[in-house]
């Protein structure tokens, strides 16, 4: 402490302190200014915290139409509801929605986002609930559970589900930490084991659940298999797969005497539309059909055409040309396809038997009954449509034929247009209603309400008196109503199975179906089977298990229960994340802290160079060893950088206190070693001061610092300097 008896060194300590304070203030101010600027940008983008509840993203081209629809949606929430169009980012127009405070409730919010699908160009949404936390990556079954549990936590106002996430609105920012901790405990303490079976009927979810429950005991928490997960999408994919499978041509080969039986995966060659049958020892001709054999569910081998097309009836020459559809008791769409030759190394091999080709699409085109393997919905639709058409024809015949035909024809065209436009079941229903109304009108006319129409004149085949005709009309109308209703239901069912727009796709496929080649149809079926229809069509189960069970053990237990064929996936139950605004603000906070850290580094370096290099250089001339000067420099560096860094609230990622101290020390040592270059001192003058009996402090104050670099030290030094 004797050092501080000299006023200079007291002031020097003051300068160090002031440097720390001013440096910290400067670094923090610079960072805050940047933070404010970025914060303004963020507010411009996201609004003030709590100002809006939801951002709706809409494709830019639909902006005006979307705005009108959103206005309509928000109008239902009263005059206090706010709709604001924000900036367009990456081709997305962003609409900011705010509900009146009393409407910020889970059912209202969830209903609002459920209706966003009606907005033209809708391309997603983002909750802006503030303050909030989001638990993402949730399986549907877990999502409902987490939503319930989160809503029950203290400090949680509500929890809304969306996508695979649950956004939790907090009562205040003070609850963020405890609720985040509680949510983390909820999801991180759990894991989900998902089991998928590749084919239909292969798995037994109930027994797997029971086996895993028995093996894990209390660590098994719940079967969270989502009913939705096993529902629409999978069923739609399965329906599409089965529908395609039903439409693709199939080949059955009856082994010939002495021929070795075919195995799954082998290929055979058929004559198909080629003028000549395959010739053993030669490569297949381009028009020959190549069929790949596969094991069917019943164990028999069934072939699929992987090259070539099954020609339309009557168009093919040669082998099998004489076979009409259904010939020989083979059933609709089936006909002999001649001798099948084994394909060996790309060359036609020996004959293996006689082939029969079954093509449901050609049976359909020819008016035959659709194949029973095709999708049930398709069956229903076709059957119902056919019945409706028959009934309609009867009604048309019954009523005034000319006018009714015209009206009904228009209605039928409307129906067809609606179906092709993919406008969904409502359009179907609307069109069918028109048909029914027309029919009823005609029925009323036929019953005598309109004297201008005489049913008897309509030439009804039943003939008879008016009462009889009316009874007949009533029966026909009842039958018509029933048929049309079934048609509508079938259409709706098909649409639900295939998802939004699926009905249009189905009808589009129907239109294109006759243009498809057999091998194309096979490839389409294989693609659906492989990409989605395979595993997706199979059964699945999701189990919620305690996080304390090691993943490897869990997988082992589940695999034992589910069998080796099952796909077992172990995942975390979910991830807790701040809200989008909090993420942005957190990012800005990181930027601010990093900028403050850089500011602290600059401030410390500037102070060392401008103020302390002079002193360090002089110390070397006042008798301090080089090592001692370096040590002083290191200490100063640690003090300055550590102090400024700490007080400014700086935090550079990866730079903990140890790193900062080391950086400060390194900086200080570097400045000490380069002090003479950074701030040259006059050794002669220092020696003169010593010879005059001046203290080190007096030498620094009167001789060294005044000619050193300008800085805080030289400024403070002026106060007590005696020689100007």
């Amino acid at each position: 402490m004797s050092l501080f008896r000299d006023a200079f060194w007291r002031e020097y300590a003051l300068v160090v302190l002031m440097t720390i304070l001013l440096g910290a203030g400067g670094a923090a101010a610079g960072a805050s200014a940047l933070d404010a600027a970025l914060g303004d940008a963020a507010r411009g983008l996201l609004g003030e915290a709590g100002q809006y509840h939801l951002i709706v993203h809409v494709r830019q081209g639909y902006r005006a139409a979307a705005a009108r629809e959103l206005e309509r949606l928000m109008a239902a929430h009263g005059p206090a509801a706010v709709l604001h169009e924000g900036v367009t980012v990456a081709g997305n127009a962003n609409f900011f929605l705010a509900l009146p405070p009393e409407q910020v409730r889970q059912p209202v919010l969830e209903e609002l986002v459920a209706r966003l699908g009606e907005v033209p160009g809708f391309n997603g949404y983002t909750w802006l609930l503030e303050p909030s936390l989001t638990v993402s990556g949730l399986r549907p079954g877990v999502q409902a559970l987490v939503a319930r549990e989160a809503a029950a936590l203290a400090g949680v106002r509500l929890a809304v589900r969306h996508g695979s996430s649950v956004t939790v609105l907090l009562e205040s920012l003070n609850h963020q930490r405890p609720v985040a901790a509680a949510l983390k405990a909820l999801v991180e303490g759990r894991q989900v084991a998902e089991v998928r079976w590749p084919g239909r009927g292969e798995g037994d979810p109930a027994s797997v659940v029971a086996a895993v429950r028995a093996a894990l005991g209390p660590e098994f928490l719940a079967d969270v298999t989502s009913p939705d997960e096993a529902g629409e999408t999978r069923q739609a994919l399965a329906a599409l797969r089965d529908w395609l499978a039903g439409l693709a041509a199939r080949v059955q080969v009856t082994p010939g005497p002495g021929a070795s039986p075919l195995a799954a995966g082998e290929r055979v060659v058929l004559q198909g539309p080629a003028p000549a049958p395959p010739e053993p020892g030669q490569p297949p001709e381009p028009q020959h059909l190549i069929v790949e054999m596969a094991a069917a569910e019943d164990g028999e081998l069934v072939g699929r055409i992987v090259h070539g097309d099954f020609p339309p009836p009557g168009a093919e020459p040669g082998n099998g040309a004489e076979g009409e559809l259904g010939q020989g008791g083979l059933g609709a769409g089936a006909r002999p396809a001649g001798t099948a030759f084994r394909l060996v190394d790309g060359v036609v091999g020996p004959p293996v038997g006689e082939a029969v080709l079954v093509s449901p699409r050609w049976a359909l085109a020819a008016g035959g009954g659709p194949d029973p393997a095709a999708g049930q919905s398709w069956d229903q639709l076709v059957q119902a449509a056919r019945e409706a058409a028959e009934q309609l024809a009867a009604v048309v015949d019954l009523l005034a034929p000319a006018a009714a035909s015209a009206d009904t024809g228009q209605q039928a065209q409307r129906l067809a247009r609606a179906l092709r436009a993919g406008d969904g079941a409502s359009a179907v229903r609307e069109a069918l209603l028109g048909v029914v109304l027309t029919a009823l009108l005609r029925a009323g006319q036929a019953s005598g309400d309109d004297p201008g129409v005489e049913p008897a004149e309509a030439g009804h085949p039943a003939g008879g008196d008016g009462a009889g005709d009316r009874a007949g009309v009533a029966a026909q109308l009842a039958a018509l109503h029933q048929s049309l209703t079934r048609l509508a239901e079938a259409a709706e069912g098909l649409q639900e199975a295939a998802g939004q727009g699926g009905l249009a796709a189905v009808f589009d496929i129907q239109g294109r179906l006759l243009q498809l080649r057999d091998d194309e149809l096979t490839r389409l079926w294989q693609a659906v089977e492989g990409a989605a229809g395979g595993p997706a069509a199979g059964q699945r189960v999701e189990l919620l298990v305690s996080g304390s069970v090691p993943a490897a053990r869990l997988e082992q237990v589940v695999r034992q229960a589910a069998g080796e064929e099952a796909v077992v996936i172990i995942t975390a139950a979910g991830v807790v994340a701040p809200s989008p605004r909090a993420l942005v603000l957190e990012l800005l906070q990181d930027v601010r802290r990093s900028v403050a850290g850089l500011g602290a580094l600059l401030a410390a370096a500037a102070a060392l160079v401008l103020d302390h290099a002079t002193v360090l250089a002089a110390l070397g001339r006042l008798g301090c060893s080089r090592r001692a000067v370096a040590a002083v420099g290191a200490g100063l560096g640690v003090l300055l950088l550590g102090g400024i860094y700490g007080l400014s609230g700086a935090a550079i990622p990866g730079a903990g206190p140890g790193v900062v101290a080391a950086a400060g020390a390194g900086l200080g040592v570097a400045v000490a070693l380069l002090a003479e270059r950074l701030s040259p001192v006059q050794p002669d003058e220092i020696m003169a001061g010593q010879a005059l009996g001046l203290s080190d402090g007096q030498i620094l104050r009167e001789i060294v610092v005044p000619v050193g670099r300008p800085g805080l030290l030289s400024l403070v030094n002026r106060w007590r300097r005696q020689f100007r």
């Binding site: 006059q682 003169a688 005059l692 009167e702």
Partner: protein, 243 residues
């Protein structure tokens, strides 16, 4: 005895700078130390001023050993020894007056009194009226006289001169030597002068000490040392004097 250097030894690594040098300076006495370059003359002065520590022996000032002194005692010692450097060592940013005042004011003397004493010192070296000028504006001789005034102003019992004319061109040497001879004649202060000026030694020195290889090889009144040279070094100086 004002100054007593007692068998002082100093090495710079393997090189011997002082090999047991002993000498004395009485109050008001002028002792001239001469010797070839590198013989340890300047090192001896720096040891006496405690600008450099020595390895063995002791130096006594006013009867007190200065080796054990530290901090404030060393600074007080230095204020009793005016030091005139070869290269002046003036503070370039200060005026002539401030250079002279520096040691006085910072030594605790009231400003008025210090200024009076500084003015007197400057007058004594014939620099009255030059107080406001800065060192860069002065000739070498003037600069050295400012340095002498700065040392004189302390009114020290002993003045140490480290080749005060070596950095001056011959024309300017005379004005400095004149000041030094005046001081020597006044006997107001003891003077230990390291110089190559044989004439000055002959005219002003009470005693001459010849140093060679870090050791005293001859010592005595100048007439004796140069008149009856006993060493080769003395003979060289005698010949120089004769020429």
């Amino acid at each position: 005895m004002l100054l007593h250097v007692d068998r002082v030894q100093k090495r710079y690594g393997p090189r011997v700078a002082l090999a047991g040098v002993s000498l004395t300076v009485a109050p008001g006495e002028t002792v001239v130390v001469m010797g070839p370059s590198g013989c340890g003359k300047s090192t001896l002065l720096r040891c006496i001023n405690r600008l450099t520590d020595w390895d063995a022996g002791e130096i006594y000032f006013a009867g007190k050993p200065i080796g054990p002194m530290d901090g404030a005692a060393v600074r007080a010692l230095r204020r009793q020894m005016g030091f005139v450097f070869q290269h002046f060592h003036l503070i370039e940013r200060l005026t002539v007056l401030d250079n002279v005042l520096l040691g006085l004011v910072l030594g605790g003397m009231p400003r008025d009194e210090a200024e009076e004493r500084a003015q007197a010192a400057l007058a004594r070296v014939h620099l009255a009226g030059e107080e406001a000028r800065r060192p860069a504006e002065l000739s070498g001789g003037q600069r050295q006289r400012v340095a002498i005034a700065r040392a004189l102003a302390l009114d020290p019992p002993l003045m140490l001169w480290d080749e005060p004319t070596a950095a001056l061109d011959p024309i300017l040497v005379a004005e400095v030597l004149e000041v030094m001879e005046d001081l020597a004649r006044s006997k107001s202060t003891g003077m230990l002068v390291v110089t190559h000026e044989v004439g000055f030694a002959l005219r002003a020195a009470d005693r001459v000490v010849l140093l060679e290889g870090g050791a005293v090889v001859d010592e005595g009144p100048p007439e004796q040392v140069f008149g009856r040279p006993r060493t080769a070094l003395a003979q060289r100086y005698a010949r120089l004097l004769a020429s």
